[in-house]
């Protein structure tokens, strides 16, 4: 069957079950509640003064009743510096556990070494918001029988509430923790800031292990993870590579192309009618997205405009804007560098939030719903403004859904920034390979070769034209780019589905097919 944006979605997928096709970005939410039943979190008990400390991770895992078919979860706050996921899966594999469902909030290149466990049946299912490197390639080539489910950050919380993801064991890395399991990422040698993605795991997992390389005297504050959800605590030598944990994405790019795109995007924002006193704002880290923040910061100072809050993955650049008084608060679900970690500790207006608070569509006020302006990147965008942030030009999974569709759905103004082509590969296409974010939630595309406004926003187009910005029809820009790059040879896929892209409300927006003859 076809969903509302014309993607073929099977009614039933082996290993997943019956699936519901995407209905439109806000269709299901209009009802005001979720039809699916919310599963209760586990109720556990400990005796007074019972010790939670374990000698090592293996001992802790042994106590949690590991079994075939179990679901194990992790957070991705350690980014590409993560040691804990691989360490845990190695132990489970040594114990001979099979058919594991891996439910990490995201996966990246630091997890390449678990590929062998996808091949030998140790891991047979994956839920994640992102997939890259060797794992992305192998999944695209069909290493697993059951398709990987790609969810958004907000969608993951919903999936846990509904029991689609039932976590048996959450192994949660922290840069500081105490003997009861109060834990934080805000200090310690491996500090990584907010623990936003892990909070839902700590609440819903049947068993919770906190792993830290920095045991501190009781109590560990701030209590990002709270002791009453934690079963065991383990001290290890290192939770990760600190140099890779702080991702270094906070430096403003020097690429003239990115700066050009960012400047145009900032001009769009300034003249959108949304750049007013008290506006809220989110940008991604790195590249053109972060550079937009540089230009917006200058415009705010020049025009005397002050915002209300910054949201999202937070960089030190955002912290600087908070400290300068340009924004009143930061809501921080994920932090990108050391300066943000210390800001969480010292500044009460730098507020650590959970992923549910951030973006779960099924609550009464996720932060993305209150967002005025968001600037997002894209691997591909099509003439209907649908965005792909998950598969590359070769059809291989190499990206992350993350908060892309969550923020696009919530923000009053969603600006997508990307070059119109990379190398000789067009980014603007007639049809993207995989839809993660539906075009109805995207308002403007800004590229180095032109600005395109979604025809659903004629009043926005009018105010941008009035401000002297040159607007192109996206169809014209697509043809212009095709004139430069030529038409790509289509990628060949088999009929096997290797991934499903779940929209934040739990419906299926697209599927990813197995690439043929991938090398």
């Amino acid at each position: 069957m076809k969903n509302v944006i014309g993607r073929n979605i099977p009614e039933y997928i082996n290993g997943i079950g019956k699936v519901e096709p995407f209905l439109g970005a806000w269709e299901k939410l209009k009802k005001g509640w979720m039809d699916e039943i919310t599963v209760p979190p586990p109720n556990k008990a400990k005796l007074p003064h019972q010790c939670k400390s374990c000698m090592d991770l293996r001992m802790a895992i042994e106590k949690t009743n590991p079994h075939d078919g179990m679901t194990v979860s992790f957070h991705h706050h350690l980014r590409s510096g993560d040691n804990i996921l691989v360490m845990t899966i190695d132990i489970l594999a040594q114990m001979g556990i099979k058919n594991i469902t891996l439910a990490s909030s995201s996966l990246n290149n630091s997890h390449d070494s678990i590929l062998k466990y996808l091949k030998d049946g140790t891991i047979t299912k994956i839920w994640t918001s992102g997939l890259r490197g060797e794992l992305g390639k192998a999944v695209s080539e069909g290493v697993l029988d059951v398709p990987v489910t790609i969810h958004s950050h907000g969608g993951r919380v919903r999936a846990i509430h509904t029991g689609k993801i039932q976590i048996d064991l959450a192994v949660i890395a922290a840069s500081a923790a105490d003997e009861e399991g109060n834990a934080t990422g805000a200090h310690g040698k491996s500090a990584f800031g907010s623990m936003g993605y892990a909070r839902i795991d700590s609440r819903y997992a049947k068993q919770v292990i906190i792993v830290t390389d920095n045991m501190v005297e009781y109590p560990c504050t701030p209590t990002s993870i709270q002791q009453h959800y934690v079963d065991y605590v383990v001290k290890v030598d290192s939770i990760g590579d600190a140099s890779k944990i702080a991702s270094g994405t906070t430096r403003i790019t020097k690429s003239p192309m990115d700066l050009r795109i960012a400047k145009l995007a900032a001009d769009v924002i300034e003249n959108s009618g949304m750049f007013t006193e008290g506006f809220s704002f989110q940008v991604g880290a790195g590249g053109a997205s972060l550079a937009v923040a540089k230009f917006i910061r200058e415009k705010m100072k020049k025009n005397g405009v002050k915002g209300s809050f910054l949201l999202g993955g937070v960089t030190s650049y955002g912290v600087d804007m908070l400290n300068e008084g340009l924004f009143r608060a930061i809501f921080d679900v994920q932090s990108f560098d050391a300066a943000v970690s210390s800001s969480i500790l010292k500044n009460r207006n730098n507020i650590e939030i959970s992923s549910g608070y951030y973006a779960n569509p099924y609550n009464c006020g996720c932060m993305t719903n209150k967002l005025d302006i968001v600037v997002l990147g894209a691997l591909e965008i099509d003439i209907d403004f649908n965005v792909n942030v998950i598969t590359g030009a070769d059809g291989i999974i190499r990206g992350a859904s993350g908060g892309h569709s969550d923020t696009a759905s919530g923000a009053n103004l969603t600006v997508v920034v990307c070059p119109s082509f990379r190398g000789r590969i067009p980014i603007i296409k007639k049809r993207v390979h995989t839809i993660v974010t539906p075009g109805e939630t995207v308002d403007v595309l800004v590229t180095e070769r032109g600005i395109c406004v979604n025809p659903k926003k004629p009043e926005l187009e009018e105010s941008l034209i009035k401000a002297g910005l040159k607007i192109k029809k996206i169809e014209d820009l697509q043809k212009e780019v095709e004139g430069i790059t030529g038409v790509e040879k289509p990628i060949e896929f088999t009929d096997k589905i290797v991934g499903i892209v779940e929209y934040r409300d739990g419906t299926i927006i697209d599927v990813i097919k197995q690439v043929k003859n991938a090398n």
């Binding site: 020097k254 003239p256 192309m257 700066l259 050009r260 400047k263 180095e448 070769r449 212009e480 430069i484």
Partner: protein
């Protein structure tokens, strides 16, 4: 004016996106000796296929004393970019030789002699000495440019932020350009990370009469535009001067005052120039 190395396809294809008033596709100093033919072929093809949007396109060829200059002209002239920039122009003789070859090629291709212009690049002490003759030699020469780095090398002096050593050359080039009603374009500012330094040097260039400045990195374009673009206040003032001038002229008054300041023909001419820069049709005010 944005310099783009002629052997860099990635930079060439994006040349037009940065909003530079003009692009200089360089076959000369930015291209290594063993890349000269590759650059020539690439620039030739790019001129035919890439849309440089609203930027004027100029190609800097190699000097005719090198083994490459003649071939550069053979490939580029038939495509008639907006201008050819000729490096190390030292004398009228240099221009004569250049124009003879260009016109010969244009004749072979049935092309007019008045479309593509010449930018004479002054980058030796000899060029500075002869700059007035160079500027007035031909109608095809519509801009003079100063090549600061080569001039300093020729003069055996070090590059300083103040540019003291080439100050006289700058002013002579501007004067020669003004005397002949053509453009003068200032040399590049090499430290791309020093935005303040670039702004200061651009302000100086504007104040002594240059009509533009060359850049080596697209990041420098906005700063230069900012300096050369008249402010709202300047535009408003210029508009008022031109309007009052017209009103007074109709009443037979040539000299008048606005807020106690005398307005006469030179002030009006300057105001008209400001409006022209701002893209306002001052003739119909």
């Amino acid at each position: 004016m944005l310099y783009i190395p002629g052997n860099n396809p990635a930079m060439l294809q994006h040349g037009g996106i940065y909003g530079a008033d003009s692009l200089l596709l360089d076959l000369e100093d930015a291209v290594a000796l063993n890349q000269k033919d590759a650059a020539r072929i690439l620039v030739r093809n790019m001129l035919q296929t890439i849309d440089f949007y609203n930027s004027e396109v100029c190609v800097r060829i190699n000097h005719l004393d090198t083994p490459f200059g003649r071939e550069d002209l053979e490939e580029i002239v038939p495509l008639q970019p907006d201008a050819i920039r000729y490096p190390k122009t030292e004398s009228v003789e240099d221009l004569k030789k250049l124009l003879a070859i260009i016109e010969d090629i244009e004749n072979k291709h049935n092309l007019p002699h008045d479309k593509m212009t010449i930018h004479a690049m002054i980058e030796t002490a000899m060029g500075v000495q002869n700059v007035f003759d160079i500027a007035s030699f031909s109608n095809r020469v519509d801009a003079l440019t100063i090549g600061g780095q080569d001039l300093m090398a020729d003069m055996n002096i070090k590059n300083t932020k103040e540019g003291t050593g080439i100050d006289l050359a700058r002013k002579m080039i501007v004067m020669a350009a003004k005397a002949n009603g053509i453009d003068a374009i200032d040399t590049v500012f090499v430290d791309v990370n020093d935005e303040e330094g670039l702004k200061k040097e651009t302000e100086y260039a504007k104040n002594i009469g240059f009509s533009g400045k060359a850049v080596i990195n697209p990041r420098q374009i906005d700063i230069i535009h900012e300096v050369f673009t008249p402010t709202n206040e300047e535009v408003r003032k210029a508009y008022r001067i031109v309007k009052e001038f017209k009103r007074n002229k109709e009443a037979g008054i040539g000299v008048f005052a606005i807020e106690g300041k005398m307005i006469d023909a030179p002030v009006v001419a300057r105001a008209e120039y400001v409006l022209e820069l701002a893209g306002i049709d001052y003739k119909n005010i």
